[in-house]
Amino acid sequence: MFLAWRELVFARARFGLMGGVVALIAILVVLLSGLSSGLVNDGVSGLQRLPVNAFAFAEGTQTDSAFSRSTVNVSQATAWKGRDDVGDAAPFGITLVNAKATTEAGAQVPIDLALFGVEPGSFLAPAVSDGAGLGDLDGIVVSQTVLDEGLAIGDTVAIDRLGTQLKIVGTTGDQRTFGHVDVAYLPLRSWQQVHAGAGPGDEARAGAYEEVTAIALRARDGDQIDLTGGDAAAGTASMTLDESFGASPGYTAEISTLTLIQVFLYAISALVVGTFFTVWTIQRKHELAVVRAMGASTGYLMRDTMIQATVILAVSTAGGFLIGVGGGAMLATTPMPFALEAGPLVFAALLLVGLGLAGAAAAVGRIVRVDPLAALGGQR
């Protein structure tokens, strides 16, 4: 530590430049982490907030688009309900629709909605923070983001082409979106009618009221659902809740892209730090030879360099994260899908520092090869 700290102060411009690069990477990591969290929220927060452990889809459904392709029979819920490890099972429907909302002032607002059809009174029925819960066939409970767009409880929503009129009766008070579209819960029977393409006063085709997208499953307390056994009994193909996120529109592609960018940033960070300490070690080769001739052990010198790397990485990552969080807080107020969440940010910071230290450790391995004999003579 004796030499490490004094060298940091003495060569502050060099270390500062390197720290600046790490800080810039840290800012990018924060922004990408926020964007990832925002996209996750925008893509699947509606699913995340369901009190569900798994979904049972139709057997043979393509897994990456199961929510839009699967159709199961309501009666299949009964087969799941009877299983010992299943606490509850309920039919669940998802449909994306275009609609127009009419405000109290009479203004027409175009809006896209992800209609979640659930049985009122079932474990899937949403808790409301304001207004009333699900009950009336034309009543919908909407995500808070719908109200943030200027609509209010009491406004009506007309589904395009069908003309079905739905009334906002309550809100969940939080963000619930699916595939970047705001969620609106409605009674299962109304959902089945919309799903079947039946407008007001039309008779839905035969069997429409038997169809849903999937069966939502909740495990008995402390149990884990035997999905394979349940599928065999009910004739379904199930996925855990986390697996089902990949079945929402565009989710996997978006998250994969951002993850790849983040991986590249982490790799660049390790490379930058590693390169810096490689050059730093080469530049100090004669000085290190002198210090080794004075009797310093390899461990002493490596420890000193790793302390320098730790200080630089910790300070510049902290600085970069503070700037990133400040900028991110502003982005979070815009329509951009952006969310700052402590867990992913702490993980990203630790990973950035950890990989930087790995890069530095790889570089300071050169210290082992510095021959103290080089301190003798006039070479410098």
Partner: protein
């Protein structure tokens, strides 16, 4: 084999200085290179330098002077013979043990001082104590030592703010601060003018006697040999009086 003015050395011992073992090399041989390119750098060298003795080794380039310093300083293992520093046989020590011997028993004064650019004069000495694990005791007081070598007024200056002679004075103090038994000095006047060369070698002689350190100086500079207790000559790896 040792010679020198013992009575003068004893007169110059500071209060509390204790006699320590010096340097003993017996039948030391060292070859460098491989195959046809093998060169005998040290050829059956015997050398004994007592505590407080200041010996100079002169010789042309490539005669083996630096190799002798390398073997005496536990930087290289000889092919044959044995080396004792302060009574401890360091000949076959492992790398780790050699490093320990260097920090505990040996001090180096390099050409041009070879100071650490980031450290002030005072910190150069503190750093040497830190390496030796003697920051809390066991070494000399760095400020007092800098005062003693005439650098008390420059303790806060870094190497680039010091002249060549001042750098060497700090280098000497740095080598002595851990209380080594043997001081190995490599061409200390190579980059200095005549007056400063005399100053530095006078200082080395004074401290070698004063601190009772067995001191070997390798030099090309015959003008400074009058300050030495003994002068040895090295030619083709062979050492002679």
């Amino acid at each position: 084999m040792t010679t020198g003015s013992t009575s003068r050395r004893q007169d110059l011992h500071p209060a509390g200085a204790q006699e320590r073992g010096g340097l003993l090399m017996e039948g030391v041989t060292l070859s460098l290179g491989d195959g046809d390119a093998t060169v005998t750098a040290l050829d059956d060298v015997d050398l004994a330098v007592a505590a407080g003795e200041f010996a100079a080794i002169v010789g042309p380039s490539g005669s083996g002077k630096s190799s002798l310093l390398a073997v005496a300083g536990a930087l290289t293992t000889p092919d044959a013979g044995r080396v004792l520093v302060d009574g401890v046989d360091i000949t076959r020590a492992s790398s780790r043990e050699k490093a320990r011997h260097r920090r505990e028993r040996i001090g180096f004064v390099f050409q041009s001082g070879n100071l650490i650019p980031a450290l002030t004069a005072l910190d150069q000495l503190r750093f040497a104590l830190d390496i030796a694990g003697k920051r809390t005791g066991g070494g000399h007081d760095p400020r007092e030592l800098l005062d003693r070598v005439g650098m008390g007024h420059r303790v806060g200056h870094r190497p680039h703010q010091l002249s060549g002679g001042e750098r060497q004075r700090v280098g000497i103090a740095r080598a002595l601060v851990t209380r080594p038994a043997v001081l190995l000095v490599d061409e200390p006047t190579a980059a200095l003018d005549r007056a400063r060369s005399d100053d530095i070698v006078t200082l080395l002689a004074h401290e070698a006697h004063g601190f009772a350190v067995a001191t070997i100086m390798v030099t090309h500079d015959h003008e400074v040999l009058s300050h030495c207790d003994r002068v040895l000559s090295m030619v083709d790896g062979r050492l002679s009086e």
